[in-house]
């Protein structure tokens, strides 16, 4: 990615102009207006062609594609340009990627919920197609023939006699043509970019150390800051003594902000060291007695109150017989992005410039606007913009690469802190949290308690299914399965979160699918059925069932060793369908190893099979970490864990072999970043059940 271009002033002027022309309509669709710069091109003879906010063709043949999604490893810097390039018909090697700034032309920028491809699938192909249509029309006009006789390929237009002309020679003319009123999208059988395992655009810079994450932002004159937060949830600052902290000549200032005490220094280490030497008197607040164990007990007594939501099928209350019951528990989880929270902010002569590794530049912008209403200059036109819902361009959000996201960077708390700190300086200030602050000031995946009950018919198949979910900030998403069970009742008991709660990779399906899929195996075992056959019998024909069948074939082909047992789980989440199987090997003396994981995904039309594969590998490793290694516990209002020694992550020597199969599909693309996570934990628990005859009803699963 070309950083110089990303901050090129002309580029911003263009985007501003585009936004100004289009107004509020942008939120519902693509803006085809070429804005002021296109008109300027005609006037000044410039040879760049920017038919819309996503595409810029340069006279030297470079094609810049703007991406409005955050790159945190899941591939949007490759996938989104592929969608544009497919329709634009340009060589992949000519493409460079630009990260969008905050601008209404891109709509509300938030990368999460496995939605990027779903949102971009039509929009970005149309962006490419419109540009291609203009170039075709330009060639046709130049040759004096009908546009129908022209076609585009490899950055050139050809006519039916074999004549060709490069896009670069058409840009001036193309820029002067009226916008087509409709995008002509290619039929899928003509795709030659979509479906290819193209290498990721962000990889070369990531193997040379040149990739710029938030923590790598360096601006002239920059200072470095860190924050000490209250050690207890809900704690408040009473007073602090910074005598020791200020002994270092590298320390510039120490002061209170809303969230704690900030230390500003000439380098990061000096800020960290000074922060440790602060003596702070905290008011522990009302939650200083909070214990996660007490919370667990409270969740067990959830039904003292009415449910928040209830989903009923059939007449579950009329089914009265012997019930099989089980309860499941998932702990609080932290995100543990490898890059800790950080943000650089510069109050720069009436402008507020932000550099953030954020999943939502739009939320960061909103935070900035709210915090600084009176701090930055706003002229008359800016007031108008504000009144008419426009964009305040005195705030600039530059989104860097993200060293992991997993939902954590949907929260903008670290951006807000950095703004508060930098507001005292005229130079840029970069806030970096220590890992300890990161672990203890997260927005946690909620603890959930599940009570399951079922009744089996004479054939051993469930005819009644009851699932109650209790937790702080929970829903039944992922609990509403596809199994053909005539009488069902799924209730969620949504409590006020006792500690900050946030989205965490695969969100509610992570805990709900675990309960559903492990309970299905428990029922199959009780009924004396094979769990895989049981599932197949209960699942209606459809995409998920086909995934499971394909998975079973794959597993059968590989076979199992004598000391191995297998567990299956499957779920449709985020508009994709995933079946996984975990092979557990008995190493003797009570030790087990996760030896292999098989995965079949149907995510609709595949944009890039290598990235699909990569996201499944990633989901399985993420799922294994949560299923077997980590939990966050709280004593006296304080998170007990603090770093990777007590919130471990799966390491390479613990890696099972992973096999991923991708289903060919002509359906609309589904999500990729998250749907591979939920089936992992129950598949593992099911493998344990098959190995030992015992269920594992509580995460993290202890495999011994």
């Amino acid at each position: 990615m070309n950083r110089a271009q990303a901050f090129h002033p002309d580029r911003r002027r263009f985007l501003k102009a585009t936004a100004a022309v289009a107004g509020g309509a942008l939120l519902i669709g693509i803006n085809w207006s070429r804005g002021v710069e296109a008109a300027e091109q005609e006037a000044d003879g410039s040879e760049d062609f920017q038919p819309n906010a996503w595409v810029a063709l340069h006279a030297d043949g470079r094609v810049e594609i703007t991406v409005a999604e955050s790159e945190m490893g899941q591939g949007p810097y490759t996938l989104m340009p592929m969608l544009v390039a497919e329709e634009l018909e340009v060589p992949w090697s000519s493409i460079s990627v630009l990260r969008a700034g905050v601008d209404p032309v891109y709509g509300f920028q938030l990368t999460g919920g496995s939605t990027s491809i779903k949102k971009g699938w039509v929009l970005l192909r149309e962006a490419g197609a419109i540009a291609r249509q203009l170039l075709l029309m330009a060639a046709a006009r130049q040759w004096g023939i009908a546009p129908e006789r022209c076609r585009a390929r490899d950055g050139q237009v050809f006519d039916d006699s074999g004549r060709s002309i490069a896009y670069t020679r058409l840009v001036g003319l193309a820029a002067s043509l009226p916008m087509p009123d409709k995008a002509w999208l290619k039929p899928p059988e003509d795709f030659h970019v979509i479906g290819q395992p193209l290498p990721r655009t962000d990889v070369p810079q990531k193997v040379t150390g040149q990739a710029v994450y938030g923590i790598d932002v360096r601006r002239p004159g920059q200072l470095f800051a860190t924050v000490v937060h209250p050690p207890v949830f809900g704690g408040r600052l009473r007073a602090f003594d910074d005598t020791g902290a200020r002994e270092s000549p590298a320390v510039v200032d120490v002061f209170a902000i809303d969230q704690g005490v900030a230390v500003v220094a000439r380098d990061t280490w000096s800020a960290f060291k000074a922060a440790q030497r602060l003596s702070i008197d905290w008011d522990p607040g009302e939650r200083s007695g909070f214990r996660s164990q007490d919370w667990e007990d409270r969740l067990r007594g959830y039904d003292a109150r009415p449910p928040s939501r209830e989903h009923v099928r059939g007449t579950p209350e009329a089914v009265t017989g012997d019930r099989i019951e089980a309860e499941y528990l998932q702990p609080f989880q932290a995100h543990m992005t490898l890059e800790p929270m950080n943000c650089c902010v510069h109050f720069d002569d009436g402008k507020l410039r932000i550099w953030a590794p954020t999943q939502s530049p739009s939320l960061a912008y909103g935070s900035a606007k709210r915090l600084t209403q009176n701090r930055i200059e706003r002229g008359w036109h800016k007031l108008l913009n504000k009144v008419f819902g426009g964009y305040d361009d005195s705030i600039e959000v530059n989104t860097t690469l993200l060293g992991g996201g997993f939902g954590r960077r949907l929260e903008q708390d670290y951006v807000e802190e950095a703004i508060q700190i930098a507001a005292r300086f005229e130079v840029p200030v970069q806030l970096v949290w220590t890992r300890e602050q990161d672990v203890r000031n997260d927005f946690y995946h909620p603890m959930t308690y599940h009570r399951m009950a079922a009744e089996l018919d004479a054939q051993g198949m469930p005819r009644l299914w009851l699932h109650d979910i209790a937790g702080g900030g929970v829903s039944s998403w992922g609990a509403r399965h596809d199994y053909a069970i005539p009488h069902q009742r799924i209730r969620s008991y949504d409590f006020e979160p006792p500690i900050p709660k946030g989205p965490w990779r695969s969100v509610a399906p992570h805990f709900n699918v675990f309960a559903v899929e492990h309970f299905i195996d428990e029922l199959a075992r009780q009924a004396g059925h094979d769990p895989l056959d049981y599932r197949l019998q209960l699942l209606p024909d459809g995409r998920l069932k086909r995934c499971l069948l394909r998975l079973a074939e794959r597993v059968k082909a590989d076979g199992l060793n004598k000391n191995e047992r297998i567990g299956y789980a499957a779920a449709s989440t985020f508009d994709s369908h995933v079946a996984e199987a975990v092979v557990l090997r008995d190493l003797g003396t009570g030790r087990y190893r996760v030896d292999r994981v098989y995965c079949v995904i149907d995510c609709g039309i595949v944009i890039n099979p290598d990235i699909v594969r990569q996201q499944m590998e990633s989901s399985i490793v993420y799922g294994l970490t949560a299923a077997t290694l980590t939990e966050i516990t709280v004593e006296n209002g304080q998170v007990q864990q603090s770093n990777f020694h007590d919130v471990p992550a799966l390491r390479l020597h613990q890696l099972p072999e992973i096999f991923v199969d991708i289903v060919d599909s002509t359906q609309k693309p589904g999500g990729l970043g998250e749907p591979g996570v939920p089936p992992l934990a129950p598949a593992l628990a099911n493998a344990w059940l098959a190995s030992t005859g015992k269920p594992l009803r509580r995460l993290p699963l202890r495999l011994s």
Partner: protein, 150 residues
């Protein structure tokens, strides 16, 4: 303080004598390839080679490095292009978020220098020092396997 880095000599001025090598590299020398992840030698994102040994640069004071030779990700590619490990990382499309990859690559470089055909056990022991939250491990194994065949 003078440091020998990537075949050259670097002068460091004004750093607190306690400053770990990681922060001298990042904040005093502007070499940003080594990353901060934990500060306690657990995650390996800050790994550099010191006299060829993979070392978490967050745990060693720059002042204690002395004459030892430091290799960082910035020095790995030569005039004739990328280091073979970097190239293998591209060929196998290893990185996702990429934040740990400087540490992964340098650890693999040291592993393969010591033994161009490491056993799986040796790979496990050496490479497990660097955490990857994205789960790039299957591809790290493929890249190393490919390099050890060459």
């Amino acid at each position: 303080m003078k440091l020998r880095i990537n075949g050259g000599q670097q002068e460091v001025e004004g750093a607190d004598p306690d400053t770990p090598l990681l922060w001298v590299l990042r904040d005093h020398l502007g070499m940003l390839g080594a990353k901060y992840g934990c500060g306690i030698g657990q995650c390996g994102a800050c790994t550099v080679l010191i006299d060829g040994e993979p070392t978490p640069s967050c745990l060693i004071r720059a002042a204690d490095v002395g004459d030892a030779h430091i290799e960082t990700i910035e020095g790995l590619a030569g005039d004739d292009g990328l280091h073979p490990v970097q190239q293998a990382w591209i060929d196998e499309q290893v990185p996702q978020c990429g934040y740990c990859q400087s540490g992964q690559i340098l650890t693999a470089v040291a592993l393969l220098r010591n033994n161009p055909q490491p056993s799986r056990d040796e790979i496990d022991r050496k490479m497990s020092a660097v955490l990857c939250r994205c789960g790039s491990y299957p591809r790290i194994l493929k890249a190393i396997a490919k390099l050890s065949e060459e």
